[in-house]
């Protein structure tokens, strides 16, 4: 064959996380921002107790709640990481290692930290 075999890229890992975060945010992002940014804190259509400490704790201690919070926070970060990594590359900002640490590195730390927080909050 005329082509030289090219070294396989690890991009698929980051690209699939980017795609998962992009899809999740495209489907539910607007609804989430409406709920947590406007309706709940302003008490619009929802009782003032909705965001009480007890309610928030109960939601976060539920294993389904935990899964949803972990997926949203970590995948949203992975989505932004891929986009920021490529945009910084377009802009010639930082070295490649610097860009990776700032984007994928932060997303990885956030993923682990969120899991840690959710475990610390308990069941």
């Amino acid at each position: 064959m005329p082509h030289a075999p090219e070294k396989r890229s690890n991009a698929p890992i980051f690209w699939l996380l980017f795609g998962a975060g992009g899809t999740l945010s495209a489907l539910f992002g607007v609804g989430l921002i409406l709920v947590t940014g406007f309706l709940a804190p302003q008490g619009i259509g929802i009782g003032p107790d909705a965001l009480s400490y007890e309610n928030a704790l109960a939601f976060t201690q539920n294993w389904l709640g935990k899964a949803a919070i972990w997926a949203v926070i970590s995948l949203f970060f992975w989505h932004a990481a891929e986009r920021l990594y490529l945009t910084l590359k377009d802009m010639h900002v930082f070295s490649d290692l610097g860009r990776r640490l700032l984007t994928y590195g932060v997303a990885a730390v956030v993923t682990v930290a969120t899991a840690g927080l959710l475990l610390a909050i308990g069941f």
Binding site: V35, L51, Y53, S74
Partner: protein, 132 residues
């Protein structure tokens, strides 16, 4: 008689800020704001772990005008993300053939955007009608 001396033009370093690529750069940066929203949620999680006092302080900030402005900006960016995400969807998914002809890309964009409207509306409806 003739001599080859191919001339290589330099690539402008700021092409991403110029027409017609500005639209692409704005699209990418609208995706980056999604992490800012996730960071807001993450800070709430930290406050929750710290206890009722920290949580109430976080709630207080969430109701502040500064938070409203931030979430307004995040909402606009998120709407742009939704729009552009489904504009690109027909280019990232496998080609869809129905009844021997490719499904038009506009149709795929329309279906995707409609599903997003349904999902986000369902989320809001669920929260509004759920007895707390």
């Amino acid at each position: 008689m003739s001599e080859r001396r191919p001339y290589v033009r330099p690539m402008p370093r700021d092409w991403w800020a110029r027409w017609p690529f500005r639209h692409y750069t704005v699209r990418e940066l609208s995706g980056v704001t999604i992490a800012i929203y996730a960071a807001v949620l993450l800070s709430g999680l930290v406050a929750l772990l710290q206890g009722p006092a920290a949580w109430d302080a976080w709630r207080g900030w969430l109701a502040s005008p500064a938070s409203l402005v931030l979430h307004g900006a995040l909402l606009i960016a998120m709407l742009w993300h939704v729009r552009t995400w489904f504009q690109i969807l027909p280019k990232t998914m496998p080609k869809l053939i129905l009844g021997g002809t490719p499904v038009p890309q506009r149709t795929i964009t329309l279906i995707g955007t409609s599903v997003a409207v349904i999902c986000s509306s369902a989320l809001v409806a669920f929260v509004l009608w759920r007895p707390f």
